[in-house]
Amino acid sequence: MPANEISFRIGGEAGQGVESSGAGFCQALTRAGLQVIGVPSYFERIRGGHNHYSIRAANREKPVWSVRETVDVLLALNAETVAEHLNCMSPNGVIIVDEDTDLEAMQSELDESDVQLLSVPIKEIAVKHGSDVMTNTAALAVAAAVSGFDVKYMMSVIEDNFRVKGDKIVNANQAVAQEAYDLATDQYGLLVSEALGDRESPPRLSLHCNTAFAMGTLVGGCKFVAGYPMTPWSSVLEYLSGHAAGWGMVVKHAEDEIAAVNMTIGAAYAGVRAMTGSSGGGFDLMTEGISLAAMTETPLVVLLAQRPGPATGLSTRTAQGDLMLAIYAAHGEFPRIVLAPHTPEEHFFAAARALNIAEKYQCLVIVLTDHYFANTVTCRDRSLFDLDAITVERGKWITAQELDDMDEYDRFAVTDDGVSPRVIPGSHPKAVFLTTSNEHREDGHISEDPYVVVDQISKRNRKLEGMRSEIRPPLREGPENADLTMVTWGSTYGPALEAMEILNENGGSANMVHFVDMWPFPTRAVQEALSDAKRIVVIEGNITGPLAHLIETHADIPIQERINKYDGRHFTYEYILAQLED
């Protein structure tokens, strides 16, 4: 195992609290000043089956961007977890099980391996102080003890997270943790090569990208959100439903995604900042509404959280298969923006930025995220979430005084930049107008006059010029003129970055070109970044390579090598390194 870091994995049945235990442990590790990432892997079911949660914690300054495929400490809440993950264990890895776990079926494999199997009365300890639901707490405390991680960080997380359930639950969990920790310290002591410890670090958050995005909508002044639950977008809807009342927002769980997008359009038309979101099929249902927003020039922000398709696909897994969907969804021709944030803080700022761009150009902004981002807990410096860096830009509005001086207000006035000033419908005697999904005149009334049609279509598509100016060039990471250039977007950023660092630390020469704003395609910047590259490898979580295709067709740069992963599982740096070697 690498120095200064430990790869943990917690496994059990759905319903055993694998994910909440994992996320809580991430929080404790973050409070200890360590660098942490936590990724769940679960099936589409409420009970039973096998779920697991992987955590990588490192006592170092540099962030960890990816979990490892090898496991140093496995917390097996059932026998199946041992069978499932035994072959991932690192040399002398530690497996923690309850003493009553029946491991007879895999005894010979366990005997042949060099794992250190700890059979601990974790359930008994849990029941003694509380109930068997606290078994996870006991297992985590044992893991902490043998990893050299101080239990006090667990205690503080237990106190904060269980406070709503009352002192009794807090005390019981803490007693369970303490006894299990003491027992493991006495019996086993440190079982890994180096104690995890703790370190002085700046204040850090431990959060999902969906949470970061939802926070960004609140800070960005979004007032209305309508949506329908669908994995992996639901947690945004849930976070905002929980925060709406205190933060001046109205959140509507609609009857379906069609209603959700149309409610959002209605609210935005009426003058409030609004957004919606969904995943695959739910987003498909919204495409008709997206086209309505385009014709009526209603600002619309849609979060598209990708998961593998087609159809229901793998509902609790990840993919990057919807890039072309985001760029081309909905009928008719109209300009749009597609953003693809790659870190929690980027998700936070993307929300506010999307709201601004949508209002500035009265256009569609799609923010692409994915299941990996939605569920991965990452620790990030709090200073990266600078609230003052979020400004509100609402675009062109006409004032009451300007209306007083006008003969007539034209909502769809033909302008040089294609953007016609808005007004809140009905806010002034002259602010009374029609907005229609039919082609229309400057005053909004329906028209099929070919000159009017051309004027309006040209006007709407002229916005593209301004919208292009919002697009940022791809990020460049690593040294210039490297032998290898990895090209990525979205969630492949972290694993590729860590792979690049490892290559360069070991005498290799690699750099990265990472796309952050996908559309309008930053053609010139891409040509600048890639035309002199010696060896380009495009890394994407899909089979057809949409980014590679966009680079070839728009920037005219041939792509010879691609690494595509479409098993529903996220990338790791180990996977990328192995593929590059092949």
Binding site: K223, G248, I258, I265, L434
Partner: protein, 292 residues
């Protein structure tokens, strides 16, 4: 006070001469004047169909949307700006076919919008196919041997889903229709009006005489109690199916709060008038504290 002239625009409707939409058009404008609304107070959200072009032909805040979708759009407008009177105007294909799901949920949700469905029992703008309310056996271009399905019962559907204002009018009786719209505008929650209307081009079997022969007013004897849900359901089940078409306010209760009355954020007034960030700037640090 607004006058009929203020609702006029210089655009001529594209409707066929003799179309029921003319009657609904006039009843709407008269109702707005009678209820003392100015054009700027009204947001008229429509779908797609002949009658959905209503807001192209009058001076109101109009939002002419997609086939089947005006109801959710109208609910979004309502939540964003409770200071406006939001009225949905769309046809039977729009409201009971493409938008059928939205209709069910609007009825139980009880948001304060008026939902006026122009029900001519046929698809007219797409040139004569059968609609969700076409009677069984009706021959059209998509039912050459006659419709095989039973028609939708809009009043019964609305009532069964808990609608708090259920009415039926028709395009021949402007006085009654105007009255129904005025009452609907005054209703606290979701006010649903099924407006039966002639289509002189594609439904030649339900013309003016048919209406004269089949419709009657529920309160013609002065003994109908619109607060009696069971009686209302009985009336709703009379048509389609029977020969007589009850009209008027079939059911009404003002005892059920509108959806938006329960929305905590709207206690501070219309959303559109609230600041984008409602809390002191330093409070926003709490969002970060929560993730520590």
């Amino acid at each position: 006070m607004a006058t009929l002239q203020e609702y006029a625009v210089d655009i001529r409707p594209t409707w066929c001469s003799g179309c029921g939409d003319f009657g609904i058009w006039n009843a709407l404008k008269r109702a707005f004047v009678a209820a003392e609304y100015d054009p700027q107070d009204i947001v008229m959200v429509s779908g797609i169909g002949c009658g959905s072009k209503m807001n192209d032909y009058m001076r109101v805040n109009g939002l002419h949307t997609l086939h089947g979708r005006p109801v959710p759009v109208a609910q979004g407008v309502r939540l964003a700006n409770t200071a406006r009177k939001v009225i949905c105007v769309h046809g039977d294909g729009d409201g009971y076919g493409e938008g059928g799901n939205h209709f069910l949920h609007a009825a139980r949700r009880n948001m304060g919008i008026v939902d006026l469905v122009e029900n001519n029992h046929v698809y007219a703008l797409t040139r004569g196919q059968y609609s969700p309310t076409s009677y069984k056996g009706f021959k059209t271009s998509t039912s050459p041997f006659g419709v095989l399905e039973k028609p939708v019962n809009p009043l019964g559907l609305a009532l069964s889903q808990g609608a708090t204002f259920v009415a039926r009018g028709h395009s021949l009786d402007l006085e009654q229709l105007q009255h129904l719209i005025v009452e609907a505008l005054d209703h606290r929650g979701y006010a649903f009006i099924d407006v039966m209307q002639v289509c002189v081009t594609y439904n030649r079997e339900m013309l003016y005489d048919w209406y004269r022969e089949h419709t009657y007013k529920v309160d013609e004897n002065g003994d109908y109690d619109p607060s009696d849900w069971d009686a209302a359901m009985k009336k709703a089940m009379e048509f389609p199916g029977g020969d007589r078409v009850p009209t008027g306010i079939i059911y009404r209760t003002e005892d059920v709060p509108a959806y938006e009355e329960g929305e905590p954020t709207l206690e501070a007034g219309p959303l559109v008038d609230q600041p984008l960030r409602t809390r002191p700037w330093e409070d926003y640090q709490i969002l970060l504290d929560e993730q520590m």
